[in-house]
Amino acid sequence: MNDDLKKTSKLPLIGVGLRHEHYDEALNTPANIDFIEVHAENFFAEGGASHQLFNDISQKYSVSLHSTSLGLGSASQIPLKQINQLNTLIKRCDPILVSDHACFSWADINSNHIHGGDLLPVPFNEESLNLMAANVLRVQRVLGRKILIENLSAYMELPGSIYSESEFLVNLCELTQCKLLIDLNNLVVNATNQALLSGTGKKLNVVEYAKQWLANIPADIVGEFHLAGCTPVGSDSLMIDDHSRPVSINTWAIYHFALTRFGAIPTLIEWDENLPSWTTLLAEASKAKDIAKMVFGNEEDTRFTDILDESEYFLGSSEDYKLEEIQQADDIHCMSHHHA
């Protein structure tokens, strides 16, 4: 990662994830964003339309290359061909950021090397840590650059953890000098699911959970934030990180806290299901910029309710997204200004 990304502007770089339905507008209409994130695997074809599109996107935007398939926590070896394909894309677009996840994807079934096609959780222990660190170091050696590692939304807890997730990731950064891509919505999802996954049934305050999680992270190892929204669920169901909605009020509140704690970190809006118009997606990016202005500008009188439309946090939301949380978010904002 380019260490100057934080320093070149008082405000963070704000980008959006590029999806197929938006290709044409992304290329042919003006967009007030600082970068585009693409999923590396969507551009692994050797030629054809996606190859040309990748060239065109790289010409128009700064690119963040987000890989979703390395499976850096896999005990089964990651093929060199796969890392080399990512490297080929890096050489083609000179990305501002390169990232993947703290997960496993590869395993062996009946002597076949199988890829799960998903981001699968690992236990947070020494064995996983050493293995993931070795894989990250190998990938960084092949790529000739440091990468960012993203925290997961996990739908099951594997036995054998001795660290918390944040401790595990901090240790990983110490061992490999990689940095963290912190997906703030994943913190919300994990906090929401914690009551069910832990078997305690005790519902957590998601904002407080996220704040504590973030408080465990040293400021100098954070390289990017991801923001997204997902479908709210009842208390007996696991929340799925489906990236199907606008960023929730809780996640915006956590973002505000994170900017205050970590500084002007590059930030990405992700939206994958029930895709909105390109204009709506860009509007989400504008909200992120407005919240950054609340933190870094001279707009301490601005409140969340000035930035977010009332309809967005009430329409179709569950009981979890009510006025008290908006007030809580504004309280965080006011408190952080008093403490600053």
Binding site: E41, N42, F44, A45, E46, G47, G48, A49, S50, H51, Q52, S69, G71, S74, A75, S76, P79, Q82, Q85, F104, S105, W106, A107, D108, I109, N110, N112, H113, I114, H115, G116, G117, D118, L120, V122, P123, E127, S128, L131, A154, Y155, M156, E157, L158, G160, L196, L197, G199, L238, I240
Partner: protein, 274 residues
């Protein structure tokens, strides 16, 4: 320890098994596992509906998803790129108890060829090199075809089948998946009989002049011509002169074929190797 844990989890995801005993304590763990199992099928179905777009449109989302779920259990995914996943699906379809399974497997072969064509490496174009054809020994000249060129043969006239379904759909004579199935069944019946009688093979060329793959039926002689030039059997390309020698007992005419090939943008350049 960790490798065993990961192997076991991935196996449970692919095979749709439970990892944990049925008890209230383990209920939530199996719920979590189910999320990964559903996600795998959904991702695979999404990827394969792109690769096998025609098959998907002929059998519909529900039957396609059921097919994909069975396929994932039978053929564990070894590719990390979803775009490369599923090359054995045509053979798998042929073995299924599915209406018109054999016909659908042949349509799937054509879908796959088009998909792979669209992902293939771009080939540079230099039509000025066509001048080499008039000035040099044909045994030293090689044709560089356009991107994504491939050939295939089938016992079914796949172009006729696809064109018929498309036309009937546009004419609103096909209005449902049942209508498509009925039409495909008619083709299955018709060509089962003719195959038994004549053992016909239909030949096709697949290519992409730009980004979108095209396919077209070609004669058996043309198929042999492309096969020789592309080095399908020899694993090395054959010169124009040698390929013509190979076809000297056929009706293939290079003089007739060349302008048509140029017009259809099949040829990107000619190279000379002395």
């Amino acid at each position: 320890m960790l490798d065993q844990q990961q192997n076991k989890l991935l196996e449970a995801i692919f095979l749709g098994n439970s990892l944990f005993n049925q008890s209230s304590e383990h209920d939530v763990k199996n719920k979590g596992l189910k999320i990964y199992q559903h996600s795998l099928i959904a991702n695979a179905a999404r990827a394969l509906s792109i690769t096998y777009a025609t098959v998907h449109s002929y059998i519909g989302k529900n039957r396609f998803n059921t097919l994909v779920a069975k396929y994932l259990k039978a053929e564990l995914k070894q590719e990390y790129d979803w775009g490369e996943f599923g090359s054995t699906l045509p053979g798998f379809i042929a073995k299924q108890e599915l209406s018109n399974a054999y016909l659908l497997s042949q349509i799937a072969r054509l879908d796959l060829a088009c998909h792979q064509s669209e992902r293939s490496k771009d080939v540079p174009v230099d039509l000025t090199t066509l001048n080499l054809l008039g000035e040099n020994d044909a045994y030293q000249l090689y044709i560089n075809f356009c991107s994504g060129i491939d050939i295939m043969q089938s016992t079914l006239p796949l172009d006729e089948i696809n064109n018929t379904i498309t036309n009937l759909t546009e004419e609103e004579q096909i209005n449902s998946l049942d209508d498509v199935t009925q039409q495909l069944t008619e083709f299955t019946t018709k060509y089962k009989l003719s195959d038994n009688e004549a053992g016909n093979l239909y030949s096709f060329i697949i290519w992409r002049p730009d980004f979108q793959a095209q396919y077209s039926r070609i004669s058996t002689d043309e198929y042999l011509w492309f096969s020789a030039l592309l080095g399908k059997d020899t694993e090395s390309k054959t010169s124009i002169g040698q390929a013509l020698d190979d076809l000297n007992e056929t009706d293939f005419s290079f003089v007739e074929w060349l302008p048509k090939a140029i017009q259809e943008r099949l040829i990107n350049s000619i190279t000379i190797q002395k």
